[in-house]
């Protein structure tokens, strides 16, 4: 395991990486949650963070986004150090975040939710393109945001960040609690976004779903990245992965 960790550290900081996270530590109040997270994401890749509940996957995304105030280490995006940037600056650099709880605003209509995130870079998707992707949203435009079904709320949460022109998307468990048919739709969406050149970091519990969309998987355990498995080698490492995830 130590070898694997070294290999990961060596890889983090690869020249061509879009996002490089090194030795990231983070705290919730007094409790030390991340103990040195290392991973990198190359442009156009879909990378997952796999791990058990409480391993630190969500915290990693929040740290990258600048939401957790107490952090240390390094987060480099497009050559720029973001460790000390407040989250609104991180967003303006072109990173968009879709939280696990989806974050649909109850006091806003579907349309207002969709139009809320300001454009941060040119080249975001048009509203029409988002409606092509998620036709349900167009029909429910004037409903209250939280009156949508869980699946529709997830589509809204993903759809609204596609408008902004952000090129790196951080998606926290987009399939959680959804019906298989919706999960398939989200899977197709992620594949389509990858084709369009988006780079995606996906937090997942469901590694079967992850294996259908991702290029590489980082395994997070107790606040550390303990292994990296390319998707092509997933089958060969299935035993190891089962042990990591305890499934």
């Amino acid at each position: 395991m130590a070898e694997a960790a070294r290999a990961i550290t060596a890889q983090a900081g690869a020249e061509d990486a879009l996002l490089t996270v090194s030795n990231l530590e983070a705290w919730y109040g007094e409790s030390h949650v991340l103990h040195g997270i290392n991973f990198d994401v190359r442009p156009g890749e879909v990378v997952t963070l796999l791990g058990r509940n409480g391993a630190g996957k969500t915290t990693t995304l929040k740290s990258v986004m600048g939401i957790l105030p107490k952090r240390k280490g390094s987060i480099v995006f497009q050559g720029k150090e973001l460790m000390h940037a407040p989250s609104r600056h991180v967003a303006k650099e072109g990173i968009a975040y879709c939280p696990e709880e989806r974050g649909i605003f109850a006091s806003l209509s579907v349309e207002e939710n969709l139009m809320l995130p300001p454009q941060v870079k040119p080249g975001g998707m048009s509203v029409e393109q988002i409606f092509t992707l998620f036709p349900n949203l167009k029909e429910r435009l004037h409903s209250q945001g939280t009156k949508l079904s869980g699946g529709e709320q997830q589509m809204l949460a993903i759809g609204r960040i596609l408008r902004t022109g952000a090129k790196l998307l951080l998606l926290d468990e987009p399939t959680e609690g959804l019906a298989p048919v919706i999960i398939q739709q989200i899977g197709r969406t992620i594949a389509m976004l990858k084709e369009q050149g988006f780079t995606i970091v996906l937090v997942e519990q469901n590694f079967r779903f992850a294996s259908t969309v991702a290029d590489r998987h980082y395994v997070v355990e107790q606040g550390k990245v303990i292994d990296m498995i390319p998707n092509a080698e997933l089958e060969a490492n299935i035993g190891k992965l089962h042990a990591y995830l305890g499934v």
């Binding site: 986004m65 600048g66 939401i67 407040p86 989250s87 609104r88 600056h89 991180v90 967003a91 303006k92 968009a96 975040y97 939280p99 974050g103 605003f105 109850a106 006091s107 806003l108 207002e112 139009m115 809320l116 995130p117 300001p118 941060v120 960040i161 902004t164």
Partner: protein, 295 residues
């Protein structure tokens, strides 16, 4: 002349008008409190003092600089709003991570300081502010006499309240405000400058109080305690309407003014407590307030 339930119509409509005027002030002030509480989670106890400050700034503009009522209606809220922005930046901002109680104590202390300074300077007897000449006189409506200025106060408050409601509920800016009220962290993560929005919201809420103060200056005499007397009732109005509800605070403000006016006609002894009695009943039946959203 006909009578209603033994009450002469002049008395009835006269009290209803007074009620409507009080209701106008309740509405603007509770609206400001609701907006501030919604986004900042601060119970702005300085609101009454800021209303009084609006009246004083109007009086000072007139007496020291010769600036008339109409300009004061624009400038005084702006000046009071700017003091609000400064207060938020220097003081209130430090309290967001603490319990509500600290914000309440800070703003209560600020209210005492503002009142104390003005009382020391101008005494408590009250300074006159004449009704602008364009609005002096009144209309005989047959069933009652309507002083022009009082009609104007009701109209101006209604317009300001409805405009504020429109901006908050129907515009892009309002959507930012509502979203940040729900989940400021996520709104920041979309790239929106939430701290600046909070500062400007406090400034705006305080400016509303200043605006009400200018409207009040020609009706009540301008004195350092005018806000302290009013704000207690306004807090009751906010509790009845529900903290954080925009439309709720407007409707509750006007209705409670009217109810208070009616009580003065039919059972004057109860007129000063009727709002508090309603508050107690609402708290028993619907603790979140009539328009409050239960979380």
């Amino acid at each position: 002349m006909f009578e209603l339930l033994g009450i002469p119509p002049q008395a009835l409509f006269g009290q209803l008008l007074l009620g409507l005027i009080n209701g106008s002030f309740y509405a603007i002030l509770s609206l400001g409190l609701a907006i501030i509480f919604g986004l900042l989670n601060i119970i702005n106890f300085a609101h009454g003092a800021q209303y009084m400050l609006g009246a004083f700034v109007a009086w000072m503009l007139l007496n020291y600089l010769g600036i008339n009522y109409w300009w004061a209606l624009l400038l005084a809220p702006l000046i009071v709003g700017i003091t609000g922005v400064i207060i938020e930046r220097l003081l209130v901002q430090r309290l967001y991570h603490l319990d509500h109680l600290y914000g309440l104590l800070l703003t209560f202390g600020l209210a005492l300081i503002i009142q104390g300074v003005l009382r020391n300077q101008y005494g408590i007897s009250g300074l006159p502010y004449t009704i602008p000449s364009q609005l002096s006189g009144g209309q005989n409506l047959g069933f009652m006499f309507l002083p022009n200025y009082r009609g104007w106060v009701v109209l101006a408050s209604l317009v300001v309240c409805i405009a504020t409601w429109f901006v908050i509920e129907k515009t892009r800016l309002g959507a930012y405000l509502r979203a940040a009220t729900e989940n400021p962290t996520l709104v920041s993560a979309f790239g929106i400058n939430v701290p600046r929005m909070i500062t400007l919201t406090y400034g705006f809420g305080v400016a509303l109080a200043g605006f009400a103060g200018v409207l009040a200056a020609p009706i009540y005499s301008v004195n350092p305690n005018m806000g302290a007397d009013l704000i207690i009732v306004v807090f009751a109005v906010v509790v009845i309407g529900g903290m954080g509800s925009i439309l709720g605070s407007i409707i509750t403000g006007f209705s409670l003014g009217l109810i208070e006016g009616l009580t003065k006609v039919f059972y004057p002894e109860a007129s000063s407590v009727v709002i508090f009695v309603i508050m107690a009943i609402v708290l028993l039946i619907k603790p979140a307030g009539l328009f409050g959203r239960t979380a």
